[in-house]
């Protein structure tokens, strides 16, 4: 990892830790926790879409799958450590198989979008139709559109009666997000991440250099699935119920909106986009004057038209321009370097 990147990551982490400690005095931790979970979900798509160039219309599938895997395992096992890992492993494996099917079939662009969308729909319809008592995994009934309530939420490893909840659960989620962020930064700085970005830029050229593009895309896609699954696992613990709505198209749509508004090609962009938009939706949901869907739609249209780069990259660019103006007039090359640096955030 280059020195400047280490510094940047460190700065982001320090700011994030301060924000994590200050935020509970502004917003209640229950709401904050779900904002963080959504941030992680957005990060998963931000990684595979922004850096891998894979537009997945079904990121919600992995989110829901993680939550369901956790809930089912927790009912059967009763202690949350193994279910927690299951909740990450199942979506990882599912994304790996799905990704292998798509990338080894050389699907791209719109077709990728359709397949991921369709797979999400299949899961949604299937889970919705499992209301009958014959749909049982171990001791857990799938419950159809009612979802699965009443499973063991997150506990301190080894002691099922020592729940992690409320404020400690908030810190747990926040630290999990920071760890995932740092790991993803490290992954992107590693040769694997560099080649992933190269594939996004020019797949054919990377292939001609001798790299196995299909395998690398599959792995990146699976990692994105695992992060979304982790978000789902945490969400299950937060909501204490999992429902088919987690697989819904509107959930998938929202993840894409977060990424595009926050800024693609960055990692902090999607996270911040998710938190701001989800909080906005929460605030809008508390009043009845405006329909929240209407405003979200408006935000999406306007941001595609006027902020196609997203909020974070635009702000970073503005910031670097202001910085430039204050200092001595710099050459175009440094401006370009700053722009690139801003895209690394």
């Amino acid at each position: 990892m280059a020195g400047s990147q280490v510094r940047q990551t460190a700065i982001v982490l320090v700011i994030a830790v301060i924000a994590m400690l200050v935020a509970p005095s502004l917003i209640d931790t229950y709401t904050l926790t779900v904002l963080i979970i959504y941030g992680m979900l957005a990060l998963s798509l931000g990684l595979i879409w922004g850096f891998g160039g894979i537009l997945c219309f079904g990121q919600a599938a992995f989110f829901g799958l993680g939550a369901y895997a956790y809930a089912i395992a927790a009912i059967n096992i009763g202690e949350s450590t193994v279910p927690f890992l299951v909740g990450i492993a199942v979506p990882f494996a599912f994304a790996f198989v799905l990704g292998a099917m798509m990338f080894y079939g050389r699907l791209s662009d719109v077709y990728l979008g359709v397949i991921t969308l369709v797979v999400t729909l299949i899961l949604f319809k299937f889970i919705n139709s499992t209301a009958g008592p014959e749909y049982v995994i171990g001791k857990a009934r799938l419950g159809g559109f009612n979802g699965i309530p009443g499973f063991q939420t997150l506990n301190v490893p080894g002691d099922p009666s020592w729940y992690i909840y409320d404020r400690s659960f908030y810190y747990f989620c926040a630290i999990a997000l920071l760890v995932v962020y740092a790991l993803v930064r490290w992954l992107l700085a590693s040769p694997f991440g560099r080649i992933a970005v190269a594939i996004r830029e020019n797949e054919q050229r990377v292939e001609l250099m001798g790299y196995d593009v299909r395998f690398r895309k599959t792995v990146l896609f699976a990692i994105g699935g695992a992060i979304a699954g982790l978000a789902g696992t945490l969400f299950a613990s937060w909501a204490e119920i999992v429902t088919p709505g987690m697989f819904s198209l509107s959930q998938s749509a929202e993840i894409i909106v977060w990424c595009i508004v926050g800024g693609l090609g960055t990692l902090t962009g999607p996270i911040i986009g998710a938190m701001i938009l989800a909080y906005l939706k929460f605030l809008l949901g508390q009043q009845t004057l405006f329909d929240s869907t209407l405003l979200l739609g408006l935000i999406l249209v306007l941001s595609v038209l006027f902020l196609p780069r997203g909020v974070v990259p635009t702000l970073a660019l503005l910031y670097s321009r202001i910085g430039q103006g204050r200092r001595r007039p710099s050459t175009r090359a440094t401006a370009r370097r700053r722009m690139r640096a801003s895209a690394d955030v």
Binding site: G105, V110, V118, K125, L249, I260, L294, L296
Partner: protein
Amino acid sequence: MPGNQGQNVDLAIVVAIQVIYSIALLVLISAGLAIVFGMMRVINLAHGEFMMVGGYATIVAVNAGVNIYIAMLIVAPLAVGILGLLIERLVIRFLYGRLVDTMLATWGLSLLLIGLVTLIFGNTTTGISPPIEGFPIGAYQVNGYNLFVIVITIVMVLAIWAVLSGTRWGLIARGTMQRSDMASALGYSPDRVYMITFFAGSALTGLAGGVLAPLVGLVPTSGTQFIAKAFITVISGGASVIAGLLSSATLFGLVSQLFTFSINPMVGEIALLVAAVILLRLLPQGITGRFFRGSM
């Protein structure tokens, strides 16, 4: 027994009608999207909401005393066509050539439309009753309105084909889609052609929404149930507008009805989706990317 045999024949007819109806339904709900995607490479994710608006336009018109056929076949297409025209001028024309951005912007539009319609009509189900009575075939009851949907779909496909291949306007439109620079050099404004094509696609979508209005209880979120199916049908069909639409709708209609009759409607729905995944895995360019190449 002769009676038993007669019943079997009746059943066969009923099943055949049902299968053709489900194919027609897929064609009807996808046609507008196919025009816009096949001709302009724009994926309109607000397609379902366009249909929903068409449905509301029909119901409002009928409640205002307009004849139901005029409402479905004229008012709804016009209303949605004008809506599409507005959206094309205000949003989509800035995004031509940016496939993903148009998808996102139209997704935003779909949310916006849902919100607006909720604001105006409230989140309650409205509906009108089908104007055609059912009739019996042997021991089975057949929904007469389904036959009307089939007829409308056939007329619509024939009309699209006639316009695209038989009229000067269709020629200009196809030419512009292939080489907009050439068309522009010959004196046709691509901007205007795109605008009119989008209007036509929207109007067809409005027609579909109007025709389906008596069949579904309309709520502002009704559109979402159509968009996925329409999207899948159009993409699986591939680049050719009519051949792609017909071939993929036929395939998916057959598959879903086969599983609906042999197991249940739920499995039928899932089978349709699984078929789409397998199809796209085998034919990544859609059906007309491999077969019927160069057809319309």
